[in-house]
Symmetry: C3
Subunit: 349 residues, 3 copies
């Protein structure tokens, strides 16, 4: 009884057709002119907080992301000879692989620190000494650390840029950049200086805005395009949701924010649903809003898109994967080009 | 009292003379014509089971391996810009380094997942989601996993090729390819369509054919050249040796199989002795046939060769290392070229 | 209340001006002529002990280090296509990143073994078998192992060079090379065949010369330039300081050695202060001379330099960082170029 070869092995894998979905990044690029000066300002800057970016820099980075996405191949390798120090002190696969893949695609090399206990165990070695060491070995550092202040301490002695890949519960700016890139590909007109009322969007964020670094950075970026947003609805059922001054800062930038305890009544009016139930805190995770679930049977608005930084759990049902609402796969795919745009802008050639 | 420098340090290391042993791969290449079509069929296919390969593809892959082995250097780097996702969830050094070395030699880059617990810990993240992520970050995946079904589940969502580096107790096709390459270098005439009776070989396999993935894959490849094999003798002393339908499948392909509990009485008639006492199962290992040992005093047939995937234990004595029977070092060396042949065939440039 | 962006993020990072400090390596290069033959002898040699180097090879390696330090960029990548097997079995970040950074800067690729338990776990696999495996996968091995003899055992079967990155308490030759490079940049005249008495230096080494591999290798290198050294003062308060024959071997090479239990009375006469309180022994560390501390208030000689392999603890106060005595940062920076010089000399192109 000859066992058959698994049917999927009999055909070549269905490679991604690089032209599929190319109309979206092309449309984004046509929406605004290239402004290279905004990008040039970023050279050799560290990236820790979404606050660092002006609206112009944000939309130009997204335009540059689209430029990368529309290229069939990278004939040039701008990061040839450049070394990334990859320091992920919290468990991560997705974000780490994302950064490493991007760095390689652009021609660079990588050295890694995976176990922080091997770094300067000697009693009293300071983060400044670790930073001083990194100055000699690489051109850019990417750091994920459950200690929120670590990246700021290292700034004191670093002479190479450092990118925040998640510092405690504080921020995760590159993930938020990927989120914004997805939003702008979906509706390029949101990048305009002025957006008519009928085109403004309502964004629903399911989660705890004070405790989730992905949400914190995203809200800051959304405040840069407050003229395009009718309302941000935070779906959260804890009493304390925002951290101190967080809501005030966002409202001062022009964001209209409302908090609701209920998801289903809000959904029919929401254009962009952002959901993420897991917040990493050190080596464990907190669950936020785990009782809020999205599935095909949820009362989603027609044409609404769902964003999720992934990995997902039960809060986002797989039965949504084949619907028009699924923009979380496009978001993951676009994250690569968003990081390409950022990394290539940071490194001075 | 001046300490002397270790004598071995006073001379340069004896570099491998690349022309040494070159007559064997050259003879293999002369035995059959190149058939590029057979190789071209492999482009963009995943490799999970030895069943996927026809006899023609098997011998052409070995011919391509010989072509790599006879090249002094690789002036070209066909995998430039290509990324391998190296996912070894079971302990491995040998196989992992083998794949990584090959990928670098051909000009590619590598990103690694070494601790599966950092991948999608969020409750319920499916292997399909992990596969979807990998689609964005690399061009080929190589996976070793004690979960036999994992690689098949990932196939559902992967749009890039995946190579099985060992899935539970099921298969290890690239190791078996290296084994066949060693056999064909030793006796290129075994690659012919017809082999006269006096040239057919007897292969002795010491181990449990049902539980050892290296043996399972090897037996499948041997069944592709059943016309060149007089008999396969399985040396095994457990009652249950084959898994369900395993023996029937091989015999249906024309292999003559016999099982024996005794090693020494069989050895004088065996041309190729395959031995491997350790089968990894998760983070531990099972020992199979540990009571069967080979050493210089074993009644080996004159001209017989010994294959062992290494690492070895006491089942294979080091006193055989300097004898004509030692083909396990050549097998290890050839494994690099066998993987080069396979990897370069899979990736569509 | 809009939170401000951290001030350090508002400006680009202060990139290292590559011309800063360039006069020192330039002066070193002018001190002696290039003698390429001395370097050529090193091709394909393993590096385990500082004893392997003659005085001429030592100073030529430092001259080559200076050559690397004065290059603005590495237009060529001499290690293109070459693979380094990075095997760090003891915890390390600094030394490992140093080697990996250097190898990448010169264009090479790296494969790593980080967990020795995954290497040849099969009972009885010998280090010779591990070495045999490495012959197939790479061009150079770098090894750090708490087992002092491991590197010598592997020499038996290796056909590629191996570099000792620390073997138990025995030696750490590349660190000592970096130390010598710092000393020669500070005072190039010490490289001369003859050094007048008023120019000879006094070196103070705080630590246990028998138990600290960095010190052991450094003393051997210092014995190569004994004509430039007035005295080596070992600051150590244990009864047993030197290992057997260690002191005799150094004195036979012409080093004047004295041991003192007190630090402060010695400092005013010391030109080079070497301090390192931590000696790694396996997965833990021993502390040596932890009661000896250096700070701004120590009675340091004017113009004296402090060397420390880093990471540091409380034995070296940060208040010295901004003083003229701080040569430990320059030492760390120069270690990169010292390893470039060594690695590029070892690999036969």
């Amino acid at each position: 009884m000859v066992k058959k070869v698994h049917p999927k092995l009999e055909e070549p894998v269905e490679a991604e057709n690089w032209t599929e979905g190319i109309e979206q990044p092309l449309a984004l690029m046509e929406q605004i002119d290239e402004d290279f000066a905004a990008i040039a300002e970023l050279a050799n800057h560290s990236v820790i907080s979404a606050r660092q970016f002006s609206r112009e820099q944000l939309i130009q980075l997204c335009r540059l992301s689209a430029k990368f996405e529309t290229q069939q191949s990278f004939g040039q390798f701008p990061l040839t000879g450049k070394i990334l120090i990859s320091a992920f002190y919290e468990p991560s696969t997705r974000t780490r692989l994302s950064f490493e893949s991007v760095w390689h695609r652009l021609g660079g090399d990588i050295i890694s620190i995976t176990d922080p206990s091997t770094t300067g165990i000697a009693k009293g070695e300071s983060l400044k000494d670790v930073a001083e060491m990194m100055n000699h070995y690489g051109d850019v550092v990417v750091l994920r650390d459950s200690n929120e202040r670590a990246i700021y301490e290292m700034l004191e002695a670093l002479r190479i840029p450092i990118i925040n890949a998640g510092n405690g519960t504080d921020e995760h700016p590159t993930q938020a950049l990927a989120d914004m890139y997805a939003i702008f590909k979906w509706r390029p007109e949101l990048m305009s200086n002025e957006v008519s009322d009928d085109k403004k969007i309502t964004i629903g964020i399911i989660g705890n805005p004070g405790r989730m670094r992905t949400v914190r950075s995203l809200l800051l970026f959304l405040s840069r395009i407050s003229q395009a947003i009718k309302e941000v609805v935070i779906i959260c059922n804890t009493t304390e949701s925002f951290s101190q001054d967080q809501r005030e800062e966002l409202e001062a930038e022009g964001l209209n924010i409302r908090v609701s305890r209920e998801l289903e009544p809000e959904l029919p009016d929401i254009d962009v649903v952002y959901i993420n139930a897991i917040a990493w805190v050190g080596n464990t995770y907190e669950e936020h809003g785990i009782e809020y679930k999205l599935s095909k049977s949820s009362p989603l608005k027609k044409g609404a898109i769902i964003l999720h930084p992934l990995a997902r759990g039960e809060e986002l049902s797989t039965d949504l994967d084949d619907t028009e609402h699924n923009w979380y796969f496009a978001q993951a795919r676009g994250a690569v080009f968003a990081r390409m745009a950022l990394m290539s802008s940071l490194v001075r050639f």
